[in-house]
Symmetry: C2
Subunit: 334 residues, 2 copies
């Protein structure tokens, strides 16, 4: 199967199925988009590498889903609406079963968000998936990292930590296996392999929230990017963090590691003025996305954790002994 | 050196240096572009893999140049003006000398075409470079592959074959070394490693030429894409094909292989109505790009070669014995 046959068979779809914003799809030197008048264009690229972002034996349908999901999550964090994406794919071999499942997982998510594949590239090489996603957002409404203000409330969609627990169960890490119920991996695996990008919430927050970021590397680290870009600090109220039952069963250090440094959560972390609390709640309801106020932005730099009594407690380090080895592959999206 | 330090040191440049079309560059979940009102957006992604598109010991500055050049060449073939690009980079290790040279080669070409780096991704992994380039073109003026018409003149910018000869010299292929002068590789290497995307010509032809494609896989094969997409055929007048001195020294079969199937030329092949011949010549002059009329488009499908007397001669196959092995790596951009 040559390159063109591969594209035709697994990735090209009828031009009639393309939305009006796509003037020209796969098959020419470039794709052509018609941006809506006045809107800005949001662009993000993510590269997924075997052994680093996924295991060699991952279900290819889940991989197709996740490769697009992590890019859509970047659009969500910007408050943008998806327009389309390109896919560049390096494959060691053209295996039909793999390609069929991968494209099925990819297109199921693309269709769910009306985000068509508009172009790309395929080549032989060590497995590598690079997606560039394009979206649109109204000028001045994008959720930038540098727009957090002292006094803002800090919010989190869904909750963190289960993707990391699933990863440790997949790896067979002692503490994860010892404190998890039988069948936990089967239940939690989708949190790691099939994240749901929070696009509806992101768009509902555009022009309302001040700053947002999607959580790929862990709550504490990603919040740090917002704090540095905005020149502010933050307090997280530990007892406001949503904690899933599976995480409650873990010893405290590992629980905090999952919650604060877990990675692969693909939730939105955002902040908004206290006066807009009702509008934020309405945005969550409109988008049918659970959110929780987990703290506030302050003017003193740095990140502080507060216990139930409002006392500062030490932020656990990213890697203590247990995780020295675990911190490397698959967990941290680059 | 961590990921963020690597980006800061080698790829992030002052926001002040960004053109007005870039509302937000590197450092957020997405970059933001302001498309000019009414213009369409042209998008292309290309992935370059070690051993397939370049040799492991290639000069990293040349690699930085070429990775962007092949993408800019896609914009040129569409008649589009560059707006910016994203870079996703998988690296086996963060080697400072390599990164310095690579980014230097990349930015030299980007600056020459006012095409800023607006975002991307870096990760550890087998060396892989994926660039997505964005440009703009006025609706209806894009040079599509499906717009060739019977009766059109067929044109070629520059000439073909020298990149392939350079590749064969690099490989030490017998026929290339036997028929080349000493020092030929040093002179020709840039044809393979530092192609010059024909952006000025492409933009001058937008709305004037009927169809265009950039030559990455060889003249005959790439012309075939235009013919199939347009439902037409073509005749090439062999004695009109520009032949560089170095190719004249080759035996005829190898000369034709280089001219017709060489690959990595990154020239523009385009067609236009005979009535527009003067306008096409003016576009070539304005853009300071040599072009040559090499044949015509006809209604009978397929590609025919004509000798000096106008007699059809057989099109040499893509790979005869000599090239059975040579056809595989590095030559053919995927």
């Amino acid at each position: 199967m040559g390159e063109f046959e591969l594209i035709r068979r697994y990735f090209q779809r009828p031009a009639a199925a393309l939305p009006a914003a796509v003037a020209l799809g796969i098959g020419d030197d470039c794709a052509l988009l018609r941006p809506a008048p006045g809107w800005q264009l949001a662009i993000s690229s993510d590269m997924l590498v075997e052994g680093r972002h996924f295991f060699a034996d991952v279900d290819p349908a889940a991989l197709g889903h996740k490769a697009l999901a992590v890019n859509l999550s970047d659009l969500a964090a910007m408050g943008a609406r998806p327009l389309g994406f390109t896919l560049a794919l390096a494959l060691p071999a053209a295996e039909e079963a793999w390609l069929g499942a991968f494209s099925h997982g990819l297109f199921a998510l693309a269709d769910a968000h009306a985000c068509p594949l508009i172009g790309g590239d395929t080549t032989r090489g060590p497995l590598n998936i690079c997606i560039t996603v394009l979206g649109e957002v109204w000028p001045g409404r994008a959720l930038r990292r540098d727009a957090a203000r002292a006094g803002d409330d800090l919010y989190l969609s869904g909750g963190t930590g289960l993707a990391r627990l699933a990863l440790e169960l997949l790896r067979g890490t002692d503490w994860a296996c010892q404190h998890s119920a039988p069948g936990a991996l089967a239940r939690l695996r989708a949190r790691l392999e099939r994240p749901a990008p929070r696009l509806a919430l992101g768009q509902a927050l555009a022009g309302l929230a001040h700053a947002a970021i999607d959580l790929s590397d862990g709550l504490a680290g990603d919040l740090g990017h917002v704090l540095r870009a905005s020149g502010v600090g933050a307090e997280i109220e530990l007892n406001q963090l949503p904690v899933a039952t599976e995480l409650l069963a873990l010893p405290l250090p590992q629980r905090l590691e999952c919650l604060l440094h877990g990675g692969d959560d693909y939730e939105l972390l955002f902040c908004a003025a206290p006066a807009d609390a009702a509008a934020v709640a309405a945005a969550a309801q409109t988008s049918q996305t659970p959110i929780r106020r987990i703290g506030r932005i302050g003017s003193a730099p740095g990140l502080r954790l507060l216990d139930a009594a409002g006392r500062a407690i030490a932020l656990p380090g990213r890697s203590f002994d247990h995780f020295a080895a675990a911190a490397a592959p698959a967990a941290a999206a680059a």
